[in-house]
Amino acid sequence: MSRKTHDTDQAARRMVGVDVGGTFTDVFVLDEAAGKASVAKVPTTRPDQSGGFLAGIGREVDDKSTLSVVVHGTTAGTNALLERKGAKIGVITTQGLRDVLEMRRRDRPRTWGLRGDFEPVVPRALRLEVPERTLADGTIRTPVDLDAVRAAGQMLIDEGCLAVAVLFANAYANPENEARAVEALRALWPNAHVSASSEILPEIREFERFSTTALNAYLQPEVSGYLTRLDDALRDAGFAGEFMIVQSNGGVMPVAEASRLPVRTALSGPAAGVIAAAYIAETAGFPDVITGDMGGTSFDVSLVAEGQQMLSPQTSIDFGMVVRSPMIEITTIGAGGGSIAWVDKGGLLNIGPESAGSTPGPVAYGQGNTRPTVTDANVVLGRIDPDNPIGGKLDRLDVDAAARAIDTHVGAPLGLDTLQAAEAILRVANARMAGAIRLVSIERGFDPKRFAFMPFGGGGALHSGAMMADVGLSRTLVPRYPGVTSALGCVIADMRQDFVQTVNAMLDGMDTGALGSVMQDHVDKGLALLDAAETRFEARETEFALDMAYLGQTHTVSVPLAVTVTDGVVTPPTREQIADAFDATYRESYGRLLQNGVRRVMNLRSAVTGKRPKFDLTTLAPEGGSVEAARKGTRRVHFGDAWHETAIYDRLALPIGATIDGPAILEQPDTTVLIEPELHGTVDRFGNTIITAKEG
């Protein structure tokens, strides 16, 4: 099938972002030409998520050929890792090292208790050793025995392995042995799923590199199959545009690249949410924002300073399952709507970590859970409308059952009445959530007064007042469509590729020409991907940083380098420039330099980004309307120690400029926004609700 290229009537077509979550599949459709956006929310289908995916798009778009771009934020990779549902795979590794994946970095699951064991995704019998050895300086001490590689490959094929990972010692320093092994394997392996550690992550630290590569192989058959099914289904429906996937780093990549590097999608969905939050907040005039995504079992926090997300170099998906590739930094605590409140033997009220999740869910859902959750407290206090439950499965929430559960499990042991007990649950839950926000802000030297809180997901906007009060955040910004933030993020994310190469050299005497050619290689590969893309880019950017330390230190600092790239050609930095950049970064991090210290360059990290055009968020803004017309009535809501007759508004019907004094509740199909008595909210020109303290 021939595809249209991007220079043909792009403007007449539409962009779609699809975020598949655990419960709902969210779809965001942007029609730039018409200046319109629409959203849809449908149940996620399992096990094959493509059903919900297509149904969601189908809600808003009849003719798929009118779509120019479909961008997907996916949890397929995360779920396969968490539920251990990847493919049967094998490993071929250096003699003496078959157990690296199982030995980890000699850690344990929990500090206290010494319980728990660990099984890697590849069992020992499928981890085969071959004679080969490269030393740390890149010298090949033992050339790879290709006959042994072929025999091992055949054995893995016979065992029914669907993918294979080649994991050789020091392959970051010299990939030759791995490359030769992979070449031999690709000749006999029945599919494309052959991963080499030096291709996936040419970086020193064998466990992290092996783990990332093995998890990539583990995901490949599953994720590439899923993405191919989606791609085919879209094409069959007439879609002729470009299909892209959000990576954990917040950038998008073409679907073929995602099939090759599925491990980079491990945090795809949450990353898209943070991208959207950063853009919405900056557009609304708040470049400093802390996002809080409250789900059923967890509260995910991320910090955006001056419009920039924080990236962390690696994450553990679960104990011993390390993925090393740049990811948007998201801090998770176990305090969601479904988190269970309980009183321990010492008389202390605790929230979580146990959760009722979305099934059976809170007591008020009437699906079998009898222990009170955070959502039950919100229901009992009138903050959630029992007659219009979010999720659509139920007609009415069971307020009485929720109250009974709170009485039994919290009120009675603590000597509190139902309302006091419900308030207590919220206060302790809020304190935990506030703790997570302090962790990413105050503890890292960011002053919370500078920051706005942006709740997204279904439940966060019920807790924003508490976050402002407990942490000292200046205001809350509730985006117009908080329930589809990740889907919106898909539409605006840039295309980004990250590269790494271990250098491991002292700066004095380092060959900067060699460094320059690695930079050039990264730029070439990155730009080639951008060239191949059918999306248009407003700009192309390259960024370089070196992981550096003084000789003898193990912690490196990331030193950003100002490097000139003209028409795709890199001018390598001089040693003096690198030294100056290191000194500046080091001084900023540690206060002072080490006299006579020897500077060492550990890794080069490069990022190539194609900036995608951002759409005008006023597209989402309300048109017309009035506060009076939006007012739906009142409901009794409990705050502190009293019931307040509280005005209820249809949030989406409020006009730009509307101001609402608390206490008030703004309702929309998937979100409840609470404005507490001492706060007030205004609707900005994009339809966001800005909540601040009342004047005086």
Binding site: G96, V100, A136, V428, E443
Partner: protein
């Protein structure tokens, strides 16, 4: 004392824990030496103004410090009482292990925290410095017969008076370390952590008021006591004994018994170490504070949900016999304290298993195996590769033990092989699990590891090992079998030798191309091996964790049926 409502209490508990955690994080980030930065060999907390009891302690520091820090604070309280001039802005510093526990590498900073002119509590910071003088770089001297051969000894002295640092003290410290830059970096990091603690406490007291916070601290401590009492109430009354041995003290080849009698009566428990070996010549002695703190570590492993404050220990009477190696007086050498406290934890677990087999796991590998390989490069520059190695954890009531875990007293991770190979002229011929090392049981122990390290440097090298479990294997519990013992070999030409003291050796000479091989213990098994699922045995054989002959010997032949 004012009463505190349960909600404020829950909120304040989290806030104060966060302060201690944040002090930990500040030091980890800014410390210069990897022992703190990577291995998190440090700790911070809040301590009682008059008793020194632990009020709140950070969650990310080294487990052993959770109990030992209050002794350091108590030592400062005693010193301040003698001096009689405690003031806001003072900071004490010392490393004397006989006063503060653990070993001389741990530098302790203790700062009184004043609120509105009144002493409110103490803040303290401890961190393992890279080098504090003594006979051996890094202070791990297996041949030390007194503290002076281990390190420079600093008693509690004022590093700061009313906010002004006494630079004389800093000068003395920096002249007594081989690595002054590293030491200065760690000192700055610890001072920074204390400063941060003060700022956070100021904010907390401004928000809640001193009375409320004090009431919360009391309530948390009482609550911890109540939790411990409730746990003990749930255990049967009785007296149970357990005994184990250290291989030797590194000087004389005589096994050293470590013995405990655990007695539970109602909601009280006694841990009596009567019968333990007397003070020895070598560095496996420990000071009394270390022994008491170790009992706390063991208890917290048995009851992981208990909070980290002194209330937990009130119902527990820890009896350490005078003159024993668990209460060695100054200047007995204590550098190898890790080995001794792990054996204490082992015997507490073994005794507890007899009281309540579902509450404990079998013994872990029980030795840190401090292995150093050192030499000179072609250009004459010295190099030292020093690391600790992992082993198997014990089987538990619900699962097999973890393969290749870290020591129960630590949370440190091992450096990557490639980082070691890039930094030192060595090559690991093997970095693997050790088959047939797991203690048999319903749930077997975790596997130990095999590390074989070849010297690549043409000048050769020297190797030193400070380990344990070369003669006495990690025990199983509830009927489980012991794991494999520690084995160390070194290559001399075309044959392999073993050290005369089994687990400790200094100064073996290795030529280029020769290697050492360390095979670390597996964990003990949990429950009778006869009751292990034959399919699980067959699986271990199929994965190569267990040889067929050992499977037959340990479990009988039933597993063979499952594979047909």
């Amino acid at each position: 004392m004012s009463e505190i409502d349960p909600i404020t209490l829950a909120v304040l508990a989290g806030r104060m824990e966060q302060i201690a955690d944040e002090m930990d994080a500040t030091l980890f980030r800014s410390a210069f030496n990897p022992i703190i930065a990577e291995a998190h060999d440090a700790s911070h907390g809040l301590y009682h103004a008059t008793s020194g009891d632990t009020l709140v302690q950070g969650k990310s520091g080294l487990p052993i410090f959770v109990g030992v820090m209050s002794f350091a604070v108590k030592a400062v309280i005693d010193k301040a009482a003698v001096d009689g001039d405690l003031a806001d802005g003072d900071i004490y510093i010392f490393n004397d292990a006989h006063l503060g526990g653990t070993h001389l590498s741990d530098m302790r900073l203790v700062r009184p925290y004043f609120h509105e002119g009144q002493l409110f509590c103490y803040l303290a910071s401890v961190g393992h410095w890279h080098d504090v003088g003594g006979a051996v770089p890094g202070n791990y001297n297996p041949a030390a017969t007194d503290a002076f051969q281990e390190a420079f000894v600093l008693p509690p002295v004022k590093l700061a008076r009313k906010g002004a640092i006494n630079s004389d003290i800093v000068d003395i410290l920096m002249r007594n370390t081989r690595l002054p830059q590293s030491a200065q970096g760690d000192l700055n990091g610890q001072l920074g952590a204390l400063d941060l603690g003060v700022r956070r406490m100021d904010a907390l007291l401004a928000e809640y008021g001193a009375d409320t916070v004090r009431a919360a601290l009391d309530a948390l401590s009482n609550r911890a006591e109540a939790l411990m009492e409730a746990e003990l109430d749930g255990l049967p009354d009785g007296r149970w004994e357990a005994e184990d041995y250290l291989d030797n003290d590194g000087i004389e080849d005589v096994a050293l018994p470590i013995k405990v009698a655990l007695e539970i009566k109602g909601n009280r428990m006694v841990l009596d170490f009567d019968g333990t070996a007397p003070r020895c010549a070598g560095p496996v002695n420990i000071a009394l504070p270390t022994a008491v703190a170790t009992a706390y570590v063991a208890i917290k492993h048995v009851f992981p949900a208990l909070p980290a404050n002194a209330g937990v220990m009130r119902p527990i009477d820890v009896r350490i016999p005078e003159g024993s190696l668990l209460a060695a007086e100054f200047p007995a050498p204590v550098g190898g304290y890790t080995e001794t406290i792990m054996r204490m934890i082992d015997v507490i677990f073994s005794a507890m298993a007899k009281a309540a087999p579902d509450r404990v796991v079998a013994n872990a590998y029980g030795t840190i195996n401090a292995l150093s390989i050192a030499g000179k490069r072609a250009d004459g520059k010295p190099w030292v590769m020093f690391s600790f190695y992992g082993g198997g954890h014990g089987g538990s009531p619900e699962s097999d033990g973890l393969n290749h875990g870290n020591a129960p007293i630590s949370t440190a991770t091992i450096p990557p092989m490639e980082i070691l190979e890039a930094a030192y002229p060595v090559m690991f011929r093997e970095w693997a699990l050790r088959p047939d090392s797991a203690g048999a049981g319903i749930h077997r122990g975790g596997l130990g590891a095999r590390y074989e390290i070849e010297v690549l440097e043409e000048n050769g090298a020297e190797a030193f090992l400070f380990g344990e479990r070369g003669r006495f294997a990690p025990q199983g519990v509830a009927g489980g079998e012991p794991g494999a013992m520690n084995v160390f070999h070194f290559q001399q030409g075309d044959h392999w030798e073993t050290p005369p003291l089994a687990s400790k050796i200094r100064g073996i000479t290795l030529k280029q191309g020769e290697a050492v091989r360390l095979e670390t213990p597996g964990g003990g098994g949990y429950g009778p091996s006869a009751e292990r699922d034959p399919a699980a045995v067959a699986r271990d054989v199929a994965q190569g964790f267990l040889s067929a002959s050992e499977a037959d010997r340990l479990y009988g032949a039933a597993w063979q049926e499952t594979t047909r």
